[in-house]
Amino acid sequence: MTFESAQNAAARLGVTIRAVQKWAKEGRIPYAYKEGQDWKIPVSAERPDAERFAEERYHEPMPIVHVFPPGKAREYVESIEDPHDRAMALCEYHYMRGEFKECTVIAEPYMDSENPVLRSTSALFCMFSNLCRGHMVKTHYAASVIRKALEEVMSGNYPKETSASCLLCAKFLKVQLHLPLDDLKKMELQMRYLDEGVRLMACYLLAHIAYLEKDYERALGIAETALAFASEDILVPQIYLSIVAAMALMNLMRVNDAREALRYAWRAAERDGFFVPFVEHYSLLQGMVEKEFKNDYPQELEKIRQVAKEFNESWYKVYNEKSNYKVAENLTSTEFTVAMLYSRNWRAKEIAAHMELSERTIMNYITLIYDKLQINSKKELCGFMLR
């Protein structure tokens, strides 16, 4: 029988040296023995906790970015053999199509899974689905499941892929919902342990972080670079990356390029009806969805508007219980668009040209928005609006 050091065994098994020493001391590695201060481990030794994951093992650490072939997402989902993988793929499929009830029915049982990645992933789908439905208690509960899964993997002996996936789920909480999370490790350091699709979603989050920090050039750079490297059939991250590129371009006042990025995102999404990313970013796209979809996709626009209203109202409830809630509730979609653009220092004349309305109409809208929000300055308006 051939033996190796604890250090080599740890590298081979994907765990820490301390974990190997602990297992050996507890007698959980057959034939391991101590020579002086060092443990000798059989090179054929397996992880003693391997059977814990056997029932729920899946290939992709975070199945949120299944390789959906464009136009054939449903067929792809049905073809997945592993039942847990298929379940998560179905969750993603339903969520992207705005079928939130169907998504939560499948995802909720997995929030009790032994596997922290399955728990985190299913909780992420539940959280956003319930947010879109206005079910705030369930939204907060799902967020707590994600937090606890992260705490568990950070304090336990889990493979790096597992902790990277759970960290990514937690990052969604922080970046998209602005929920407080302490001591999140730098996501960039963990990305190397993720599969391509998941890594692309991590790039989307990095671009979004840069956007929130108003570093629009950087956000655009990250998005464009990630898109350049993306495989054609990894559909969902391409949609999100194109959308964040459009957001950055709007803030750089490159409106035509922003429209092109948005059209690219829609071309990727429309064949499978994946309209929810446009709901999630409806406000941040500053009226572009209204303008681009009004003539060519009126039905889809109406669907996006309806879900976006609920999403925004719920988002504000999570983000700020008090003052911001009345923004989403009181303003129509057009008023909201005008408010977003005006708060980004667009002049009334520029908003009028962008929305194909008269300048006088835009001034009337702004006055009406101020009246509804009981404010009288752009400074106060900026305090309300999403960043």
């Binding site: 002049r347 009334a348 006088r360 001034m363 702004i366 101020y370 752009k378 400074k379």
Partner: protein, 102 residues
């Protein structure tokens, strides 16, 4: 539209009347604020009336560029949509009163 209510804005010795009317399209009451960029008006002392939404003032003392955020903007009550500019650089000879307020 029925003129069911009116508010009188009084500042610096001048008054502007703004009617409140019901807009059927919006299904709510709205105030018919004058647009001072089209119909300029000033007080007897030469201070100009401005709308809070005006955003092209070269003397704006704020990064937000609108009169509502500027420290020189003076309104009768907090939250008013019109007021006067107290910046001496914008003072004019008193503009003959038009019919917007009287």
């Amino acid at each position: 539209m029925d003129k069911t209510n009116e508010r009188i804005f009084s500042l610096d010795g001048d008054t502007v009347r703004v009617a409140l009317s019901f807009d059927e399209k919006m299904d709510r009451f709205v105030r018919e604020y004058p647009d001072f960029s089209i119909h300029p008006r000033s007080t007897p002392a030469g201070r100009i009336w401005v709308n809070v939404t005006r955003d092209d003032c070269p003397f704006a003392d704020t990064e937000y560029r609108d009169c509502g955020s500027c420290r020189f903007f003076l309104c009768e009550r907090v939250g008013d949509m019109i007021g006067i500019c107290t910046n001496e650089k914008t003072m004019v000879q008193s503009i003959a009163q038009d019919q917007t307020g009287d």
